[in-house]
């Protein structure tokens, strides 16, 4: 077990290293510089600025200085908002995004498993059909369209809910739902198909032959097994929700890291782009490892070497 975790963590670090290297050299390869001569009338100021970002040094040296910074937890400083560090943006934006993402995640888990179980077990055909229709709609319509449609109708046309910013509980409703819809649909589909599959298994027949009531058969024997694919999906999904949706945050003007990332891409603010990419990669890799560990805890057959 310990060996497995160590191995996973090492691979995670390697992935982050590759990601860092790739983003660094991609950014270096991009034509145009924010410190071009046209933007600085004063040559001295330009050189000073370049020196501040180590841009006067050879590329390889810049690279090693950057790596060194990362190992110390320093992701660099913005080109545009000089004086503001990347860490500052993350500290500002991440809590907002994480709160919204966690709410969306909880909604998605409860609604998704509920709808999926209902669709799989209900004897009434129409319940099954309604559940699956919701799930198909949810998978087909991307979050940003839902966000826009909600904003358009409930926010602008009907004026029922506020649609700009996050200033109180009611502000969370539309963005959280927009974010949750796709995961709800995916979890509902996964839960339904895997529950149907599990209910067909021989061990369910054996459980029923013991005189265990149907409800207990589902709870004790089926749900745990049926949750395995859901866990595999839900872990990385949570990571994506935590790292923020670029569009939903932009649409609802939410000051999270998703919207910040879009801003820095539009502004070509390379240190921010690089720093954010590495931070988001870090979160996602961490959650992938956690997901594997949880799956292993639930399913004893997954051998951890």
């Amino acid at each position: 077990m310990a060996k497995y975790i160590t191995k996973r963590v090492l691979i995670g670090i390697l992935t982050l290293f590759v990601l860092t290297t790739a983003t660094f050299f991609l950014a270096k390869a991009t034509p145009g510089s924010p410190f071009s001569a046209e933007r600085y009338r004063n040559e001295e100021a330009r050189e000073k600025a370049m020196a501040k970002y180590n841009l006067d040094k050879p590329v390889m040296e810049q690279y090693f200085l950057y790596l060194q910074g990362i190992t110390e937890g320093d992701l660099g400083e913005s080109y545009i908002q000089q004086g503001r560090t990347v860490n500052y943006y993350i500290e500002e934006g991440f809590p907002v995004t994480a709160r919204l993402g966690s709410i969306a995640f909880i909604i998605a888990l409860i609604a998704g498993i509920g709808i999926g179980t209902g669709a799989a077990l209900s004897k009434k055909r129409w319940i099954n059909n309604v559940c699956m229709f919701i799930a198909t709609i949810g998978v087909s319509i991307p979050s940003f369209l839902i966000a826009l449609l909600l904003q358009l109708f409930i926010g602008v046309q009907l004026g029922l809910l506020p649609f700009i910013g996050l200033y109180g509980p009611e502000y969370y409703i539309m963005p959280a739902f927009s974010l949750a819809l796709y995961p709800i649909a995916m979890i509902a589909r996964l839960t339904r198909s895997s529950l149907l599959e599990v209910m067909r298994q021989d061990y369910i027949v054996l459980a029923r032959s013991k005189g265990t009531p149907y409800r207990m058969v589902v709870l004790r024997h089926a749900l745990k097994n049926a949750m395995l694919p859901v866990i595999t999906y839900a872990g990385p999904m949570f990571a994506f929700l935590l790292t923020g949706s670029f569009v939903v945050e932009t649409i609802y003007s939410i000051p999270g890291i998703g919207a910040t990332f879009v801003q820095c891409v539009v502004n070509r603010d390379y240190p921010l782009i690089m720093g954010m990419t590495i931070f988001l990669g870090f979160i996602i890799i961490t959650f992938n490892i956690l997901t594997d560990l949880i799956s292993a805890a639930v399913d004893p057959r997954i051998k951890l070497k």
Binding site: D202, V205, L206, A207, S209, K210, G211, K224
Partner: protein, 335 residues
Amino acid sequence: MSMLEIKNLSTEFSTENGTVQAVRDVSLHVEKGEVLGVVGESGSGKSQTMFSVMGLLAGNGKVVEGEIHIDGKDISPLSFKKAKEYDAVMSDIRGNDMAMIFQDPMTFLNPVLRIEKQLIEPILNHNDISKAEAKERAIELMRKVGIPSPEKRIRQYPFQFSGGMRQRIIIAIALACNPKVIIADEPTTALDVTIQAQVLDLIGNLKDELDSGIIMITHDLGVVASICDRIAIMYGGKIVEIGTADEIFYEPKHPYTKGLLDCISNPEDLDKKELRPIPGSPPDLLNIGKGCPFTDRCEKAMKICKLEMPDTKVFSDTHSCACWLTHPMAKKEGN
């Protein structure tokens, strides 16, 4: 009184291609301390008869006719107005009065639950005792079915057991509440030959120890020969012949029974008797005709066989057979 009595049971499955009559008018009974063998090819309806009795049919299956009594108690699905009432009664019966041993030990145990949880479940379902007591009983059961160091192994998961050991666990689960009727659905089919013999021995010993009625479903006459008191032969969803083991082996009446006996290899007279396979394959129970289902494969088939199902003719208190060849009008030379 019989431990289990089945009267005129018929079960149907609705499928995309039509209605499958899996069990057609089957009557059986098992007495206390008796082993009844039910023999037939795959698809003959033998397992579905037992699933009907247990109330474990797949969602598209339904008992359409017949009565089932266990120890005098009526458990026919048709006697209950609501599915809920039937389920409630069956929850008390299953695992308690009646238990089932299943075919494939690799798939019938829940892979993500410890043996402990799976083994104490029937005990807790039907007895008002604590978990600790149930666990003690579970360990006792494991010892009874021959699993070494049960205290340690009860904490393990199914994948840590071999096929034969898993089948022992399944048998232990079935025995948990000393059921009146044990239905063993091809308990040895999925096992290696050497393990098969061990498991059969185990069931044979249990027969002497317990007072239950045992139904042994198999497609292998050789398996039933050693432990069954009576044998029922099923074909095309029907019982075509039933009798004591001696009657079936020494005075078979139905051509299908004779055919099955010809398929057994006997090392003692290999040169005397050649193995004779039965030509063709079992009938499709979808759109089955009115006549005898065996007609198409029967060497001695007559015109009447295709038109009408024969009556059951009684030869002794225990022996009866449904075949037109036993009719007085049938020509003797063929019989």
